[in-house]
């Protein structure tokens, strides 16, 4: 690992007015929130009780969706340039490879299925990006929140710094202060959910080794007496090896290098020079707050929900929280949406948390059978998997993070053409290669997300948007067709490879209303400006339906 950056403590500020948003915690989720809000013009104060980035690699697997969100925030490329790109995984039983899977078996996407990148790099790059908004992001190191009192219009925070305490008023507080969230404790909120007794050892080691750049998972590995092991390649020749230790393992003992290194040696052999960078013995919980919004305090990331690490659903889930919340908060702060819009963050991300908890609990149960019957089923699946494809579907060595579908929730307009192909209301947008009017090759996702967007597919004729610009002022229109057409008040993209039309089920006239977080809010068989305006009102919580259903 490179030398950890130390940030100078921020002097206690002069008393100032009430801030629109204060983020507690400068981890990946808090920083993503700050950058997203700044891009939307909202000033943010970020308070962090430490003065550096994460110690140890911690979260390392960042999913395609997360990279696409960071692309929108202008920091995706830096992550991908440094990260190790992968898309395949192999599952072994002992030395036998049971099967190999591909998480992204098609081309025509800007971003890979996953990159591996140590959390300290992720934080460093997000901090550097945040510094590009000096007028909007006020990142304060070694500013620890010691008290929080809520009123109807906001919250008052007590903050301790190395050179004294001060008070800070905020309209909204985002608690991005992690799995042990002091804010959660301060508000006295229960955090229910089962704790799994199984203990795991993470060893991050530096070595020159020729393991494939894939997710390697072993059941009953020959090199380790425990039930499973997992290996990931990270940048700088660092490898993450995760050993399942069993419920009886002594955490203090197992994190000693003289205990760790023989386990590592058993994987990599005696001859490969290996340095231990970081290790950790952990057990985990699957838990969530019952509600993520408490008055003007909103919980994001691990403070709101925690999962087992198998599936990379913790960090990636948190980044999606930020993506879901920030556009809503910006609209509410600008007075363009009612405060009730924030309740839909709880509705949508609460559902996502449940999904993440379900998947990660099932993986954990598969890895740790508790009764003889469970073990017989589990071993039966493993024994069948090499030969029978159906057993590979049952085999659960991690269900890797995918963006959540938001179908059926209050902001989405019910699908008027449910039988049609393509994306449906609530689906996350998918990427496709496109060419712009100037002939430059680019990506569809670069034109979606950010502001609300109407994506229209056209044939040979330019679509007639009618009075749409008047009915929905500020709505960005993007027209996709095989040839460039002249469409006033719209950006034209050429579907050079036909993939956009294919993936969206785009027939001439098909239109999608896309949310600022690149989820489909509504789709239409043809552009009907009144219906589009209605769907937009619903998606911004301005119609009665949305607010009522989410309440």
């Amino acid at each position: 690992m490179t030398a950890q950056p130390r940030f100078a403590p921020t002097p206690a500020p002069e008393p100032g007015g009430r801030r629109p948003v204060v983020v507690i915690g400068a981890g990946p989720v808090g920083l993503t929130c700050a950058i997203d809000l700044a891009i939307r013009g909202v000033p943010v104060v970020v308070l962090d009780d430490d003065d550096t980035v994460a110690t140890g690699s911690r979260a390392i697997c960042w999913a395609k969706r997360t990279l696409e969100i960071w692309d929108r925030l202008g920091v995706g490329q830096r992550m991908v340039d440094k990260g190790v790109t992968w898309q395949a995984g192999r599952v072994f039983r002992g030395e036998e490879e049971l099967y190999r899977f591909d998480l992204l078996p098609e081309s025509g996407h800007r971003r890979p299925a996953f990159i591996n990148l140590q959390q300290y790099y992720v934080e460093e790059y997000l901090i550097a990006r945040a510094a590009e908004f000096p007028d909007l992001i006020d990142l304060r190191w070694r500013h620890e929140v010691t008290g929080l009192r809520q009123g109807a219009e906001g919250a008052r925070l007590d903050v301790a710094t190395p050179d004294g305490a001060y008070a800070l008023e905020a309209e909204w507080v985002l608690a991005a202060d992690g799995a042990r969230s002091p804010t959660r404790t301060r508000l006295g909120l229960p955090f229910p959910g089962p704790r799994f007794e199984e203990r795991f050892l993470i060893a991050d080691v530096t070595m020159k080794a020729d393991f494939p750049t894939e997710r390697l998972f072993w059941f009953e590995p020959t090199f380790h007496a425990g039930q499973s092991a997992l290996l990931h390649r990270q940048p700088d020749d660092v490898f993450r090896i995760d050993f399942q230790l069993g419920p009886e393992a002594d955490p203090e003992l197992e994190r000693q290098p003289e205990r760790v290194m023989p386990r590592v040696r058993a994987v990599v052999g005696e001859d490969t020079p290996v340095t231990l960078e970081w290790c950790s013995v952990y057990s985990f919980r699957c838990a969530r707050l019952e509600r993520f919004v408490h008055g003007r305090v909103v919980f994001v990331g691990d403070s709101a929900h925690v999962v087992s690490p198998f599936g990379a659903r913790g960090g990636n889930g948190g980044i999606q929280d930020a993506d879901n919340l920030c556009w809503k908060l910006a609209l509410v702060l600008r007075g363009e949406a009612p405060e009730s819009l924030i309740a839909t963050y709880d509705e949508e991300r609460g559902h996502a948390a449940d999904e993440n908890i379900l998947h990660s609990s099932r993986t954990t149960n598969f890895m740790t059978p508790k009764t003889k019957a469970e073990r017989l089923f589990r071993d039966g699946v493993l024994a069948l998997a090499a030969e029978a494809p159906f057993a590979r579907a049952l085999l659960n060595a991690g269900r890797l993070s995918r963006p959540c579908r938001l179908a059926g929730f209050s902001l989405q307009t019910p699908d008027p053409i449910p039988q049609a192909d393509g994306l449906r209301p609530g689906d996350p947008c998918v990427d496709a290669p496109v060419v712009d009017a100037a002939g430059r090759a680019g990506w569809l996702l670069d034109r979606l997300g950010g502001p609300f967007t109407l994506l229209v597919f056209a044939g040979a004729e330019a679509p007639d948007l009618g009075p749409l610009p008047d009915l929905a002022p500020g709505l960005r229109c993007v027209v996709v067709a095989e040839r460039l057409l002249a469409v006033p008040a719209a950006e034209m993209l050429r579907d050079a490879e036909g993939l956009a039309g294919l993936r969206y089920g785009g027939k001439p006239g098909t239109a999608y209303l896309i949310r600022p977080d690149a989820h489909v809010a509504a789709r239409f068989a043809e552009v009907d400006p009144a219906r589009v305006a209605e769907a937009l009102a619903r998606a911004t919580g301005r119609s009665g339906t949305a607010a009522r259903e989410a309440a």
């Binding site: 009764t371 019957a373 073990r375 071993d379 699946v381 024994a383 494809p389 659960n396």
Partner: protein, 74 residues
């Protein structure tokens, strides 16, 4: 395998739900009760399959993997 067993996704993407329902069915049962439940389940599912030729292939597959794996591990 001679090819009567299906190679497509018979679970229609819901394999994890199916697996969980099987595990849940055994919760709170003794080992003997679990074995008895499995026997009944096999009979019911064999009837759902119906075709003795398909069943024969399924039995052959199960037996083959049982030998290869040296039986269940403890």
């Amino acid at each position: 395998m001679t090819g009567l067993l299906r190679r497509d996704d018979g679970f229609s993407g819901r394999a994890d739900d199916v697996y969980e329902s099987l595990i849940r069915a055994h919760q709170g049962l003794s080992d003997e009760e679990s074995a008895a439940l499995n026997a009944r389940l096999v009979l019911i599912l064999a009837h759902e399959v119906g075709d003795p030729a398909v069943l024969a292939e399924a039995i052959a597959l199960a037996q083959r993997t049982l030998r290869r794996a040296d039986g269940p591990r403890s």
